[in-house]
């Protein structure tokens, strides 16, 4: 397992690693002393460019339909192209964060969410069955879902059928709704290396901490606040409603199922975590400032070992049914995968016809900060397309331009 709270020295595969509350308080006290240094970092300044920026190949595959055999075949080739995925998961406990957004009870123009907004179950199933073939011990599919139903039932509305998964995965699949503690006794408190932009730590369901391998399956979409959303943005779903939800009042609530708008978008409220984890360096109600920074903070605390992007059938212009009729269904017919999340999402953005190194508040980051560029400046990965190796289908052939998102007034 990636860690155990009693063996803290083993924890930091996650650079921050899990902290006990006592150690966390010690850490935050120390961090306070060095706050001026952390706060003075200007990430818009090219002089702060790290010397060795991590990078890893990104694989692109064409796949028109959500047919299990087709998707599995395409993913098998892509993962082999990446070279080291078999070794990554062999004899390991794997957590796969899928992108199921905030409800399964909506649609886009009558098209179900898995064909438009959320990770399609066939992509998750095909990946899971491959990883079992590669020797994974157990695979937990998770996201926080706004339902108080048992986990198995909560996932069913998104097309995720546990029996079907276990048939294809030799009984090694688990579903976990991470909206609260779930089956665990306590939360994991994960610090953000170097203090974070907005969050210095995250308090989350243990599923994201007690794992050897973290995989993110995102959907290929534009995002009004983030610019684009694939693997990295998917982690915005990690903080649980029980501590971060809009429906909690003065104390954590294990029954909470609310959206996390006030804590991870507008920053009008602090989460009710066991210790104060927010730095105060946000701009209230500026989604375009806050969301990209929170994406970076989450990805720094929870490094993704493998990103898979479902770009077979999706929507363009924005991210969800809640954006109303401005979004339209589109079909790129693509899968994208890579070991470095920044590289993978940057290639994905380029496929959509956008410059992944575009200046802040220009398309596709029309409403705020380019979190891909910010991630590079933090040394998390390469976002400049010419510096990223692409395997499989070349990017010119894969390109599938999206209509741009809208600009909020005053952005």
């Amino acid at each position: 397992m990636r860690n155990n709270q009693n063996i803290l020295h083993n924890a930091p595969k996650c650079p921050g690693g899990i902290l006990s509350r006592r150690n966390f308080l010690k850490y935050t006290a120390a961090a306070a002393l060095i706050t001026p240094t952390v706060a003075s970092v200007d990430y818009a300044n090219a002089d702060n460019e790290p010397k060795n920026i991590p990078r890893a190949p990104v694989s692109i595959g064409l796949c028109k339909r959500y047919d299990f055999a087709d998707v599995r075949r395409a993913l098998a080739v892509m993962l082999d192209d990446l070279g080291d995925v078999r070794k990554l998961v062999k004899n390991k406990f794997v957590t796969i964060k899928v992108n199921l957004v905030n409800t399964s009870e909506e649609d886009v123009a009558g098209i179900p969410v898995y064909l438009s907004v959320t990770t399609h179950p066939i992509v998750a199933l095909a990946l899971g069955s491959l990883l079992v073939d590669y020797g994974a011990k157990r695979i937990t599919f998770c996201d926080q879902l706004p339902f108080r139903l048992p986990d198995k039932e909560a996932f069913l509305g998104y097309g995720f059928d546990l029996e079907q998964f276990n048939q294809a995965m030799d009984g090694k699949a688990r579903f976990e709704n991470t909206r609260n503690l779930g089956q665990h006794k306590d939360y994991a408190l994960i610090k953000v290396p170097n203090g974070g932009e907005i969050a210095s730590a995250w308090e989350v369901n243990q599923t994201y901490a007690k794992t050897d391998v973290l995989i993110s399956i995102g959907k290929l979409k534009s995002h009004v606040s983030g610019g684009v959303t694939m693997g990295m943005k998917n982690l915005i779903g990690v903080p649980p409603s029980s501590l971060y939800g809009d429906d909690i009042k003065n104390e954590p609530d294990e029954n909470a199922i609310g959206y996390r708008g006030r804590t991870v978008h507008t920053c009008e409220s602090k989460p009710l975590t066991s210790v104060d984890t927010y730095t105060g360096k946000w701009v209230i109600q500026d989604h375009g400032y806050n969301v990209p920074r929170l994406i970076v903070d989450l990805n720094a605390a929870f490094p993704i070992d493998l990103t898979v992007v479902d770009g077979i059938s999706t929507i363009q212009t924005a991210e969800g049914w809640w954006n109303g009729s401005m979004v339209s269904v589109t079909r790129p017919g693509l899968l994208i995968a890579g070991r470095n999340a920044v590289c993978t999402d940057s290639v994905s953005a380029a496929i959509m016809g956008f410059d992944p190194n575009a200046a802040d508040r220009t398309h596709p980051f029309a409403n705020g900060t380019n979190y891909l560029a910010m991630s590079r400046r933090k040394g998390m990965g390469e976002n400049r397309i010419n510096n990223i190796e692409i395997v499989g289908v070349n990017i010119e052939k894969a390109r599938f331009e999206y209509q741009p998102t809208y600009q909020r007034v005053n952005s």
């Binding site: 064409l62 028109k64 009558g110 098209i111 009729s325 269904v329 079909r331 390109r399 599938f400 331009e401």
Partner: protein, 375 residues
């Protein structure tokens, strides 16, 4: 049942052939199952191809490219505009000017013979610059008609781009306008707190709301308006689509009596503009992946399942009432009357644009794989 005489329009200078948007070619076409050539572009193609009198094909793409090809398929000229193109372009009737709109909200008048810019105009928008609707050229007053996500329809002087008229385009202006032979415009719009309105704009600019389909459970902000009205002036009927809640409705509107003749519901939304057949039947492609043929008197003639989960683009038809449509799996289907249909070609990637037919009867099918397949 009356029989429609196909219009004399043999040159499709706009999406759907002419301003009626009917998509009905005036003679039978006979095509082989394999393309005779492909036209290559820089970006994925989500707009129909249009033609001039000489058979020159004009292709616009999502990377902002505009290309002209001679009838044999050789490139004549190409230019790069400021941003992607999702709106079907239009040619002036005399072929002199090609009008194109972009995602950045720019409208260009180009010299159709060489691609050089004659004028350009920025459509004002505070938040959303996208121009997505099919353009229309109105010969009666020498204007081009378009809308943008700034929320307005515009009627621009084709000569210089000056605004002659503008009116509310509603919340989701994907759909352009259609026009009758007198130059009167018909359009649809989703209106806040109301629903979907069917509107006529007279040649003098006077606006009249002819019909309103009230919003129900879902607010107007979620009601997609992307299919254009289709005019069957011979039969005195205009067909238009209203998407309400999770269903859609095909409405048949009497031009003479200014009232709904009948309406028919479908289980899912409809993005695609309907297509007419010579017998007056109307073809609907829905987001359930089905193609429906409905007679003039609202009888179902057939339902053809394409095998794709949804259909994004419209069909075209010929004088034998054969229907041609592409689907998001890249398959191109030919559907004969009586539901005898099958796919005859598969492109590498999805098809999300309406096909076109040139004056020689060749079918042009744009694909997101950056090729136009010519059959």
């Amino acid at each position: 049942m009356s029989t429609i005489k196909p219009t004399n329009t043999t040159v499709w200078q706009t999406s759907g052939g002419d301003n009626s948007r009917r998509g009905l070619f005036n003679s039978a076409i006979n095509i082989a199952p394999k393309p005779k050539r492909r036209l290559k572009t820089q970006g994925s193609i989500q707009t129909p191809v249009i033609f001039d009198q000489h058979g020159t094909a004009f292709v616009t793409d999502m990377a902002g490219g505009v290309q002209a090809y001679c009838p044999e398929g050789n490139p004549i000229w190409s230019i790069q505009l400021d941003s992607g193109i999702s709106a079907a372009p239009v040619l002036q009737t005399d072929d002199e000017r090609l009008f194109v709109g972009t995602h950045n909200g720019m409208v260009y008048a180009l010299n159709a013979s060489n691609g050089k810019e004659i004028w350009h105009k920025e459509i004002p928008s505070k938040q959303d610059t996208r121009i997505l609707s099919d353009f229309l050229f109105n010969q009666k007053n020498n204007t081009i008609v378009l809308n943008s996500w700034g929320g307005k329809f515009y009627s621009l002087n084709a000569k210089n781009g000056d605004v002659k008229n503008s009116w509310d385009a509603g919340i989701s202006p994907y759909a352009g306008a259609s026009a009758n032979r007198d130059g009167e415009l018909y359009c649809l719009r989703a209106v806040w707190d109301k629903g979907i309105q069917f509107v006529r704009i007279g040649i003098d600019g006077q606006e009249k709301t002819l019909f309103q389909h009230d919003q129900q459970k879902k607010p107007a902000t979620r009601l997609t308006v992307s299919a254009e009205p289709v005019l069957d002036e011979e039969a005195g009927v205009i067909y238009f689509i209203t998407n309400i809640d999770q269903k859609s409705y095909l409405n048949a509107w009497s031009i003479k009596n200014e009232k709904i003749l009948w309406k028919r519901s479908f289980a899912k939304y409809i993005y695609a503009t309907p297509t007419l057949l010579t017998n007056g039947a109307i073809i609907i492609a829905d987001l359930n992946g089905d193609v429906h043929a409905i007679s003039q008197d609202n009888t179902r003639l057939y339902r053809y399942a394409t095998g794709c989960e949804y259909l994004l683009s419209s069909a075209v038809s010929d004088a034998n009432d054969n229907v041609y449509i592409g689907d998001p799996l890249g398959k191109i289907h030919k559907i004969k009357i009586n539901d005898i249909g099958k796919p005859f070609f598969e492109a590498e990637r999805s098809i999300q644009a309406r096909p076109s037919i040139d004056k020689e009867g060749s079918l042009y099918m744009p694909s997101t794989d950056t090729y136009v397949y010519v059959f």
